[in-house]
Every structure is written in C-alpha cells, then in structure tokens.
C-alpha cells in the first residue's frame, strides 16, 4: 500500500455527465489500486462531507464532470474542510468551466479561438429570436457550432450548416443550460492536448487526433467503444503540432489551472490550431482522451494518478 493515507476518488454527482463521471471514477480507482493505492470511490452526495470529516482529511481525486464538479463548487467545499485534492482551485475552475470566459481569457494572451457570442435564452425572448439569430449569422457566418456555455461531453451541441437549423439547435442547447455559446465552426482536424504537472511544471502529453466514425465527435462517439479512432501522435505537421502543444500549456497557465487539464482544439486547413475549450476534470474513461495520450507516452495511468495525488499531498504538507 502507498503512504498517501486515505484517498477518495470522487465520481458521479448530479450533472448530466454523471454516467461519464462514474466511468471515469471507476477507471481512476482501478488504476490507483493496481499500483497499490488504497482508494474509496465516493459519490458527491450527502454522505460525502460527514465521511471526509469523520475519517480525516485524506486526499481527493475529483473525477466529477459537468456542473459542481468542474465549476469549482465541490473544490470550494474541499478547501473549507481542509482536504487536499488533485486539480485546479475553485476560482480557476469557475473561469475555465465557463467557455466564453475561458475563450476571452486565452484570447487576451493571443491564443486564437473562434469568434463567438454567448447569450442567455431570455435575450432571445425579450428581443425577438429571429432578429438576434439573423444578426449572429450575419456576423459569424455559417457554419456555426452551438453548445451550452457550461458543460461538456458535447451534450446539447450542434453543428449548423443552414440557418433554418438554428432554432431547434438553440432549444436543444438550452435544455442543458441557460446560456448558449454560438461559435464560428472551424473545419479541420480535431485534436486534444492533455497537460499534467507532477511537480516539474506543466507538460503536454502527446497530441491526440480524433476521428469519429460518423464524422461528428458527439456523445455516442465519445463513449461507445470503437466509435472513434484516435491517432497518437496526431497526423498533423510538426509546426501545428508544436503550436497546439504550446497553446495547451499556455491555456493551462493563463487560466491558473493546476495538476491536470485537457485543451480541445481544431487545426484548420492553414495549420492554425484554434482553442475551443479546456477541461479541468478531463474524462478518464476507457475511451477518453487523456488516458489514451498517457498510454501513448508510455505512462501508466495508475502511476500518473498516484503522482498527481502526491503533488496534492505535498501542498498540504508544505
């Protein structure tokens, strides 16, 4: 057994991504147990705080996706309880999880991100949806990508090639949250760059290229075995590869992230990588991108997670 003391892998929660989170949590817990770490797998429910209080602080590895897991709320509670945890602090999570805020922050430091607008549904209701949508199409031009401003796993996301598809896409998007991000759609190679920091500063894992079987990296393609082919390293020239890696590390630093993150990008036909979003609790399922990248780098997932726990533990000890 390791000397990390009590380790809690936190998974589940009440977000729309609960199922994904449970799978991430199981994968992380299994990987840690395989390298000798004693792990409790717990849900984020009413039993959590009493358990953390009763059994001592320990260290938490959050694998909660979606709201409360990635918006900093749970981490705020962990800090209140004096519990060490892997990953970014609450304030950084709040910005990173909010895609429009994250895009604005990285754009400030010169990272390219597709032009976009983000609006609550009440704006459309109050001003008239048709006119606002016309203005959006007029400014951003088709095709567009619509997704909830907060949330992941492509839930509520749509690619829009025709303006007539927008109303239905907006309704689908608002089913998952109150604010929609409407972004210029960049056609290109979809890639993801995971960043980990096990004590020597943030380092990028190999770039993963995503090729969904049906062309769209939607929920089904993300979590059905065999539905997506990954190419590691991505089949892109060295220039864009280096630029993408640089963007992922800069985004990690600019947003004040810690320990672990994953940046999703698209490389257009000119070889420019565009920042789409960053994840503070990247998916860790059998079909997720970070584990794929770690494996390609020859890293054992359990050892990586254990190293991240040790970094978290050292913060408390320090």
């Amino acid at each position: 057994m390791s000397d990390l003391g009590r380790v809690v892998v936190l998974a589940g929660g009440l977000s729309h991504e609960r199922e994904v989170s449970l799978r991430s949590g199981r994968q992380v817990a299994d990987a840690l147990r395989a390298v000798g770490v004693d792990v409790d797998l717990m849900d984020a429910d009413a039993a959590l705080v009493p358990s953390l209080v009763a059994e001592g602080p320990g260290i938490v590895f959050p694998t909660l996706h979606g709201a409360t897991g990635e918006d900093g709320a749970i981490r705020q509670v962990l800090e209140l309880l004096g519990v060490a945890y892997v990953g970014a602090r609450p304030a950084a999570c709040r910005i990173a999880f909010d895609k429009p805020c994250a895009k604005a922050a990285v754009a400030e430091v010169g990272i390219p991100t597709p032009p976009s607008v983000s609006l609550p549904h009440t704006t459309f209701r109050d001003l008239g949806a048709g006119q606002v949508l016309d203005a959006i199409v007029g400014r951003l031009r088709l095709p567009l990508f619509v997704k909830p401003a907060r949330g992941g796993s492509a839930l509520g996301a749509s690619i829009i090639h025709n303006a007539s598809e927008l109303p239905e896409a907006m309704v689908a998007c608002y089913a998952y949250g109150d604010t929609a991000l409407i972004e210029q759609y960049i056609d290109g190679v979809e890639i993801a760059v995971s960043v980990v920091d096990t004590g020597a500063g943030p380092a990028a894992l190999p770039v993963v290229e995503i090729v969904p079987d049906l062309g769209v990296y939607d929920y089904r393609a993300r979590y059905s075995a065999g539905a997506t082919v990954f190419h590691v390293p991505a089949r892109i020239p060295p220039g864009p590869m280096g630029a993408a890696t640089d963007i992922a590390i800069r985004a990690h630093q600019t947003l004040g992230l810690r320990d672990i993150s994953r940046t999703d990008l698209i490389v257009d036909s000119a070889g420019i990588p565009w920042f789409l979003e960053v994840n503070v609790a990247p998916g860790m399922t059998e079909t997720s991108l970070l584990p794929v990248a770690a494996a390609a780098a020859g890293m054992d997932l359990g050892i990586l997670c254990r190293d991240l726990l040790q970094v978290a533990a050292s913060r408390i000890l320090g």
Partner: protein, 423 residues
C-alpha cells in the same frame, strides 16, 4: 450497443434527489419481508438439496401446477405440462422470438409497445409493424389493415405481440368488445398471438379480465410473471403454449440457460403454498391505486393546457401527450436538471415516433413524491413551451404515430395524430 445520452441521463435518475417517474420497479416495501425470509430460510433448511441443485429445463413441476392456479384467476384452464418456467417473462419473450423469427420477419405490435419487447425483437432483427391503439386498446380494423398491408408487401407477419391489460406504456386495456374480434382477425390471418400479461391481476376496479388465452387455447402463447404480483428479484416468469410450441421453447431454454433457477422457483412455489399471496396482490392493488390517484390528481392540478394523458384502471403507467410542438426526448435534460425523470415516448416505438409523448410510472414513488414530481414536470413543460415559442421551433407533428396519446380523461376515444378511431 452504442452509448446514448438518454441512457446516460437515467444514471442521474437513480439518485434520491430525483423524483423518478421513469422506472417500473414494484413497490417491494409492501411485501412482508419477515415472512419471505422465513419462506426462503425454510426452503434451504428443509429442501436445500433440491433448491440448490440443477432442475428440469421446463421448470419445477409443482410450481407449474401452481402457475396454472394463478392463471385460473384470469379464466385460463391449463395443464402444468403446457407451462414452461422462464427467467422472468422476458426470457419467454426472447425464446418465442428466437423460435419464430428470422432476420427481416415481421412482428405486429401495439403502438406504443413495451420497450423490452422492442429490444428483443430488434436483437433478432425483426421488422416491427406497430398498430394504433386508442383508449380502448388495440384497434381491430387497424390490425386487419396492418396484416393486409404486410401481406401486400409480399411478407407474412409471424405473430402479434400484445399487452392487453393495463398496457405498458400506454396504461390502457383492450376492452371486452374487441377481444374476440382481435382473436378472430388473427385466427383468420393465421397470425399467432403472443399475449404478455404481467399486470393482469393488478386491476383497480374489477375482477381480472379473462385473458385472451382463455378464449383461444390453440392460437395464443401466454406470458406470465411473478415480478409484479410477488417480486422481480426472483426472476420467475413463464410461457403457456400449445404443445408444439412448448416443446421448442423447452429445447431453446435448455440451450440458453440449461434450466431456470431451482432456488427461485422453489422459493416462489413455497411462497404460494404457505403465504396468503392473493391477499398480497390486494395489498399491491390498493397501494398502486392510491398512487395512480395521486398522480392523476397532480396531473389535473399542475399540467399546462394542451397536455393530455391516459387513465389506467390498473398496472403501473400513465401515457402523457405533451402540448403540440414539444419533444419529450429533447426536453429530458431540462427535466433532469429540475430533478424529475420520465421515459420519452420514442423508446416505445420501433420507427422513431412517439416524440410528443412520455411514460410516467406511479408504482414506486410515494404519493407526496409523485405530486412533487408532477409539479416539477409541469414547470419543465411550461419552460420548454416558452423556449419553443421564443425560437418558433416546433417539433414535427406526427401523423400516424399510433396511440400517440389520448385526450384528457373521460373523453371519447381518439387516436392521436391520426384522426378518430373506428369505435
């Protein structure tokens, strides 16, 4: 099987904060657990050598006798030799489909239909043709038309799959006046009837309706279950089939599972022999009636104009039709956020219909939770209506969706989306 967003959302529905009107779990808290424990304990002590041993592929003989007694409550006269015990009636459904269906064969079913049956039919690559219902159940003339239409396409339907009592998901029952007509139509067409009747003894208002099988022993394969009248954890169901079908069922079952679990069979058998099981069914009936009433009252109180639903006289389910333009599947994430869950209507159609409908279960949550769940759902529907109005995004109207829904209670029968019925 591909991972779906909808399936994933049900993971949230399992949390206690969510009022789940989605699942169909019987309310087992109504079972006298001490008595069940005694039954199981005695079984091991007194008959463990049999209960823990392999058994007959057809099922334990004494239990098959008792199953015939249970079926007699629905007017069925049968011999234990005609009964095949299965791992829940779901396995019986699987075996019947395996025996009769080759890829591309046609099965006729109600619209909407039990999702577990559609899953089985899909697994055997059957082509399911769904026939409209109204609030009197399957519509005979529509059934006849469907059979003819299949025949005109150069194919022959292999069987009619029907849940005539307290339908899952529609909550309606096939009225007495239509039962003989349905059987006659099937007989004339040479179409076997697969009668799935898990809820038949859970009627709220009257004695059990005689089963279709009680009227036609030659052309009906009857599926029964102890899952709703006792407990689903035992996984004991059965098929009652004509001799030639029964033989094939036994062989197929032996190939699949060797024999149904002896332990479960003998536990159910001992329960039936030593406990007041008919009284227990009355307890269940009263409990579900109270919950049905709570759900219906809450629907009447909270649902926005334009919403309609069925009024079940038994069973577990209410079928709700949303105001025009709404899509139950698209609305589900919003409902999950509001901590209420349901099953979108599309789950009960093989052809993508049912978007305007959803199934509500009242079997598991207590009345106060049912009421709260409906209140939340009404808010979700109202918010979705506002959103659709804002964007002018109206889900397509369904033109031939079968029992898309029924009008609000106590109105004349109507097939939603396809005009008035023939009765």
């Amino acid at each position: 099987m591909a991972t779906s967003e909808i399936r994933a959302l049900f993971s949230v529905a399992a949390r206690p904060e969510v009022v789940s009107l989605a699942g169909g779990m019987p309310h087992l808290a109504a079972l006298p657990m001490d008595a069940v424990a005694e039954v199981v304990g005695e079984l091991v002590r007194q008959d463990g050598m049999t209960a823990l041993q392999y058994g007959s592929g057809q099922g334990h003989p004494a239990l098959r006798e008792q199953i015939c007694e249970v079926m007699s409550l629905e007017g069925i006269t049968a011999h234990a030799d005609e009964v095949v015990v299965t791992v829940g009636s779901q396995q019986a459904l699987d075996l019947v489909t395996r025996i009769f269906i080759d890829p591309g064969d046609v099965i006729i079913a109600e619209a909407p239909s039990y999702v577990g049956a559609l899953g089985t039919f899909s697994a055997y690559q059957a082509d399911v043709v769904q026939v409209p219902m109204d609030n009197n159940g399957l519509i005979p003339d529509r059934l006849r038309a469907a059979i003819e239409s299949v025949r005109a396409s150069g194919r022959t339907a292999k069987f009619l799959y029907t849940v005539p009592n307290f339908h899952n998901p529609a909550g309606v029952s096939l009225v007495e006046q239509r039962r003989d007509r349905i059987l006659q139509i099937c007989h004339e067409a040479g179409l076997l009837v697969l009668e799935d009747n898990p809820y038949g003894l859970l009627g709220f208002d009257a004695d059990p309706v005689p089963a279709l099988r009680s009227r036609d022993a030659r052309n009906v394969v009857y599926l029964g279950s102890f899952s709703k009248t006792f407990a689903p954890g035992f996984r004991v169901g059965w098929a009652l089939a004509p001799f030639d079908v029964r033989e094939k069922l036994v062989l197929a079952s032996e190939a699949a599972v060797l024999c149904p679990p002896s332990f479960s069979q003998l536990a159910v058998s001992r329960y039936l022999a030593t406990q007041p099981w008919q009284q227990q069914i009355k307890v269940y009936r009263e409990l579900y009636r109270e919950r049905r009433d709570a759900l219906l009252e809450a629907l009447t109180e909270y649902m926005p104009t334009g919403t309609s639903w069925t009024t079940p006289a038994g069973g577990f389910y209410v079928w709700l039709t949303l105001p025009p333009g709404l899509d139950a599947k698209a609305m589900l994430p919003r409902a999950i956020t509001a901590r209420v869950a349901y099953v979108p209507g599309t789950a009960f159609y093989a052809n993508g219909y049912g978007a305007s409908c959803l199934r509500l279960s009242y079997c598991y949550p207590p009345p106060d939770q049912l009421r709260e769940g409906v209140r939340r759902l009404a808010e979700v529907i109202t918010a979705e209506l506002e959103l659709r109005r804002t964007f002018g995004a109206v889900a397509p109207t369904e033109s031939e969706a079968g029992l898309g829904a029924l009008p609000a209670p106590a109105r004349a029968a109507r097939i939603i989306g396809s005009g008035d019925s023939d009765e």
